[in-house]
Symmetry: C2
Subunit: 273 residues, 2 copies
DNA sequence: TAGTGGTCTAGACCACCGT
DNA sequence: CGGTGGTCTAGACCACTAA
């Protein structure tokens, strides 16, 4: 079956349909594995086949499979666990909880209501529990600006969620979340209220849509009347606007989110290297 | 010479001073290479020895050296160039110019005065040329807050640079930059004015201090009177405050920077994965 | 052509995990 | 114990760069 092109080594046969794309073997393996992830052959939280089995299946050495998996692990698509296996990454895991949550409480007493207990190193644990209050969840036709960001045709169905995140009982983030209607049929305020845990975990388990990458643009804005009221702050207060486009496999955009953050007691954390 | 502990394989002798630290061979190699970088044995822009030479020097296989260098390359400490060699990363290279500059012009006509010409892929080229206007550069004793961030004793000498960055002729960023005085002797407004190019390139070549990592905290604030005047905006305008601590080898903090950004025509860009 | 990094292999052994 | 990922080796060959 699986014919891989031995990057100009002429070993593997059948150069049929692939076209003139020459990638190293391990990248071809990586692509095959990614297809398996995208198609749901292996689901979040489940193990993928072992390195030796994959090596046998694709008729390559274990080292080559290993390098392919290394890259998937670096991209957080997969998690290796020594002695156990390699598992499809999931937003339900604690490790992934804070990968897309960059807002953290300023140091000091605040925000320490629920620090991850046993954790040792890894990243500085934000240890923040935010309560979500859904203001509304309704379906409408995409404004052109939203459609463009989500790669939809203008007027296609989208879901709009508006919610407030509270930290320590104080409204802290006002979110406007736009999702393509086709992927999120049946999403409603009730189901959002019923779900306990990260939103992305819900999207993953309930709608089979897993966010793997996002780009964000940040600006400083002032609170208009409506947003000021929702956040229980004075009109004109400076807010941190975080505009995010999240993408799933194939780099397809599946979420546009605008978060208006009160940065009185919190900050957006980033690391450059 | 170089005795490496063969991670519990008992091959390498002399377990003398190292203590009970067991790291894989390639990590020990990595540490040795890092020491070479830190000590200036190989300088920014220069090549480090070839993989085969390093393998011979440390008495390990080329694959082990390779894995060590892979990690250094992933951390942007070193740049691989096929057919040429492996080079110490430098802030003078174009590739590194925008690694620490996350402010980008909003799309549209603006900011296209000097796009990197030949570039093809890599990262979305911000293509922004900002002019630096130094307001002042003076030496003083560190306020306790600054001293803490720079791991100095309160009252030690520090350098304070205040400057404005202009994009398209408009003041856009007001920077307050704090540096440890001991590392930056002889730094003055005149030398800053004389230097053309990125600040970090100057720090690297003129003061032998190379920034390799930084953490940033972002908040939204309002322009007070002084900052509003410096940025030529109205008092009360929302500004994006970017507070950065940059570190050099050994994770030693060597810069505290507060940037107040006008985000009318620009945004802070970030990528999550 | 010689030297560099990049790919691929095959096999050995280690560290860790569950049973 | 058997199976998994993690480390290390030795050697072959490829792709690229410069002299």
């Amino acid at each position: 079956m699986n014919e891989l092109s031995r990057s100009a080594r002429g070993e593997g046969a059948a150069e049929a349909d692939a076209g003139p794309t020459f990638a190293p073997l391990y990248r071809q393996i990586r692509a095959l594995l990614m297809r398996g992830l995208q198609s749901g052959e292996w689901k979040p939280g489940e193990p993928i086949p072992s390195e030796v089995e994959l090596a046998a299946r694709y008729r390559v050495s274990q080292g080559t499979v290993r390098k392919a998996i290394d890259e998937l692990a670096a991209a957080n698509l997969v998690v290796r666990r020594q002695g156990r296996g390699t598992f499809v990454a999931s937003h339900r895991e604690v490790r992934a909880q804070f990968r897309f949550l960059r807002l953290r409480p300023d140091e000091g007493e605040a925000g320490m209501s629920g620090p991850p207990e046993g954790e040792g190193a890894d990243e500085p644990a934000p240890g923040m529990v935010m309560i979500s209050r859904v203001l509304e969840c309704r379906r409408l036709r995409a404004p052109s600006e939203i459609a463009r960001a989500l790669a939809l045709r203008a007027g296609e169905a989208v879901v709009l969620i508006r919610r407030v995140l509270e930290a320590e009982g104080r409204p802290t983030v006002l979110d406007e979340i736009w999702l393509p209607g086709s992927r999120f049929r049946g999403l409603s305020a009730e189901r959002l209220d019923a779900w306990h845990g990260p939103l992305y975990a819900m999207f993953e388990t309930e709608f089979g849509t897993r966010m793997i990458r996002a780009t964000e643009r940040l600006k400083a804005v002032t609170a208009d009347r409506a947003r000021a009221r929702a956040l229980q702050v004075a009109e004109g207060v400076p807010l941190l606007l975080v505009e995010r486009v999240s993408r799933t496999y194939g780099d397809q955009p599946v979420e546009l989110r605008r978060g208006y953050c009160v940065t009185e007691r919190h900050h957006y954390f980033n690391e450059l290297s």
